[in-house]
Symmetry: D3
Subunit: 228 residues, 6 copies
């Protein structure tokens, strides 16, 4: 499963309708809907551009530090609606990804990149409107000399990502939803969203969370004291 | 003073006129006017939006990692013109604050948030125009299970903040001015600002700092050598 | 060569035409054209504003932590077309540079600042349109008490920079080109750029990098396996 | 699979003979024998004492920051020959583990602890001779207020660990071997070890790796140049 | 209170008997006895030698980065039984302290050093048996050019330390106890210690924490599920 | 000078007598004797064993992340009395060096390793008594696929090291002395050492640094105030 030198060619994907709906909720809501289980990538994963909010099916890459060969291999495995997720065998900030690979991914309908390493050509990436979440920006070039793998389960920025899992990414970060939990998570996200609108209205009118959530009694029982 | 489970309800605040004037000078000038004494929060505290420059009275929170309960408690203690300052008992990047708490704070006239942890829903926070300085952006949710305190002196991002102290925050970071030193600091800030305008004009005309500040002689005495 | 307390006054600079041309290629292309040899500054060096892409001749400063005196000394050594490069004798995030020094540098035609420490007054720096790449933003003030040096070779953010070397900086970071290698690097950058345009077009049309770069055979020889 | 609030009680374990043999090879050899696939925990995981080299079956814990309740739950699931592996839902350096938990684990024959957080009472832990690999040492206490899980697959310090996987830990760090690959990895480790002894002898006698590994020709073909 | 350039000469100290007793409990027990309120220094503060466990009265120093002048000033303010606590106005790893200052402190009966910066000559410090907790080891020398303060309240490694507070330091780190809370904290530490011995014995005999702490019922109520 | 793919075979070395004498002074004294100019490697460079204090002639390596091929190439260029200094083209913690390379270096009389990356097999390295200063300990294996260089000037952990420079390393860290400054630095180190012994004796007898260094007057002039 975790061998180097393997490309899995036919990965299962969820229906586009299901995957697409995730982008309407965003990372924080999906994370909460998923029960706050692991799945949130580390907070050092930041977008290179403001304003993108995407969801898609994960195509995974395991790459070696200083080597971006497997990203070229992965392009061929991508379909419209996918998000490329690049994990590293060792920590790296090298610029494994730039405008040429972005052009290639866009030609295949890929929605964005999530990479636990560096990216470069970011001025062009922004002009192209190609969404990227990365650990670093770095012009450092890479070689094409060692094998990694494509479409095996990987640990990316601290989260386990299997090929075909749903990736959601926006200004709050990146979250992965295991495909088996996608339908259930989506339903909970929808319920949560409805619920939030009501709360927001109440709070805006001046109602306190202390009252709305009925927190006063449990706080008192734990011993919270008010003093002048 | 530093016990957990305590909410101090009636904190002294300086006059709004005094507090408000700080925002016209900004963090760097106030830091210099305060004699460069401690009071500057660590440089990892960054704004989530460009362009905000605020000052206000500190309402302080001490929260436990992974738990944002005390923020809800703190909302009730806030008044128009306040800035909420959240310190942690242990390092954390969790998203303790999001759009609902922001809505609640805005309903009470709070000017902004300074938090030594993470925030989330930042797209909405930006749309709301609610200013936030934080250590991280993270969708990671938190529980409501443990007590912290509100309005006790706290160490936030390396700086001691007492309730009622003046907080100044802009693109350069965040600085705290002890309330007892506010009047004096403001006067020095004003003097400094006037002084800076003159210097800026001279330097813009090509006068060298070496001459304007009369540095050549002391540099020579310390042994600075010019060689070809 | 690396003594403290030395200012070298007459440094060699390359022709403006040569230096200026580098900005048309950008950091990533120049890094690649230079054979990926050292010269790339650490990826923590980030611009404080979007959109600047500059090249210039390096005027170097070696400063002590908490002390920006040598920056004032360096201003006098600057000419139009220069970029000021500030290295530290020990790691620092202090704000050694602000709007007054920027005003002074702009009066001398300096194109930008690269500093392995902090900067402040960044709102004003952005309004002035003065480009800065730094390790941190910090209002922390500095003293003028200890000697450093100007125009000696320095290590800035992990890269060796000699006075008169070509500095190129944009959204991807900062790279230094030794003056002796400038002409050759420029030629390679030009060739690379031409080459990239063709590749981009092919990739945009759907041609795979695997085919365009003829990677399939070497990957197979290394043992890459495709499985369902 | 990754839900919070779950304890899996009957996990499969490999035969003690198989698991124990791993400790004779050590982390580096096992990592190489496993084909350098992921499985190595991040290099920040360091032992609190010198000289321990252990292997065992993983009992996994997923804990929330600031909360060590699940460690108490996990103790009951441990058997002689196990190693407790603690992952966190968010980064933490809190001291979730001390001498009382160590005493409890030792009473059950547990061989050691691997924790992506902090430990405390380390003087006593050293006296007890209980092996620990951790991210930090911290006296920071934790609460018992929130649920995590026991014996579900976790990501610990960047590596995926399933319950029952083989953990190997020594001065070089910590590596996990998926149980399905244990037998094969052990055989390769054994072969490698035999091979290394021969190499070591040759190198000690002055034979160069360049010759022993026949590197001169491939280096030449890649263009390595020797100059005076 | 926080001005630079001030030396407070007559600070209050608690009775030696009271201060000394803290060292018998150690950092973790004292932290717990103090109710886990702030007071624990950041976990990056590590001892340079094993085996020291000390307590003493804090003499505080606020120093500027790259400058150790105030440490020389502070020596004169030290008495037998004191611990020198050095805070910085900005983050630093410079070696502000070495064998000469240690010799001077030992001549005055000072028990140890806690410094949020670097130390050097550590081979000699170890030979002298002088206990040090620091952020870094660094040979980097410092100047004597700028004023700081002695015996004002400081924030050291994230914790507020007032002169005369009790400092406790051992292998688990460093904790500060405000002098007003010392007597109460000591009593709680004593009670806790007695309590721990009993627990340790039970756990060693195989009793589970789950039963000893009666955790099964609250865990069940929160919804913990056991599955095969 | 900084090209990849180059091995310089005949580097100049200083006389063994000169080089060896540096080890008697240690890193801190040599750093001071060199005028505190750059030359100190970053403080994250730590020894894997206590008690080594060495000096030697630098043989330099520039390696690519994840690739230790050039270390094998470098062995051949080493002579008795050398210290191998490994710099990276990009940040890395991979384990580029282990017991086999150490065996090979020891067979050639090399005195130690300084590497801005990771090392492994550290139990064996300690048993062999081979001194190593590194950025990390990591079992992570590396490939032999890309060219770097040997015996070109490199930036290692922030310091410029030219082949043939003197390296001094002990418990305080690592410092490099340019060969052209070695004789002068040694003389100053000797003078400093003699001087230190006198100071140590005075301070041990209770004389204050304030008096011994005659600091009271300059402190007063800068405005230091003593208050009760």
């Amino acid at each position: 499963m975790t061998a180097l030198g393997v490309v899995v060619t036919d990965i299962p994907r969820l229906s586009p309708a299901l995957v697409n709906e995730f982008s309407t909720y965003g990372v924080t809501t999906v994370h909460e809907a998923g029960g706050r289980t692991p799945g949130l990538l580390a907070s050092y994963m930041r977008p290179i551009s403001e304003g993108h909010s995407i969801s898609g099916s994960a195509v995974t890459v395991l790459a070696q530090p200083g080597d971006n060969w497997m990203l070229h291999v992965a392009v061929e495995q991508c379909q419209p609606g996918d998000i490329l997720v690049v994990a590293m065998t060792a920590p790296s900030t090298d610029g494994l990804f730039g405008d040429l690979l972005a052009t290639s991914l866009m030609a295949r309908g890929v929605r964005g990149l999530v990479i636990d390493a560096g990216v470069r050509d970011i001025k062009t990436l922004r002009e192209l409107g190609f969404p990227v979440w990365s650990k670093a920006v770095s012009a450092r070039g890479t070689v094409k000399a060692t094998l990694g793998s494509v479409n095996i389960p990987v640990v990316c920025a601290g989260a386990l990502v299997a090929p075909g899992d749903v990736i959601v990414a926006d200004q709050d970060g990146v979250v992965v939803v295991p495909s088996a939990k996608a339908q259930e998570t989506l339903e909970k996200a929808s319920a949560r969203e409805a619920n939030e609108a009501q709360k927001r209205e109440k709070l805006a009118s001046g109602v306190l969370g202390l009252d709305m959530y009925q927190m006063r009694e449990p706080l008192k029982q734990l011993g919270l004291r008010y003093i002048d």
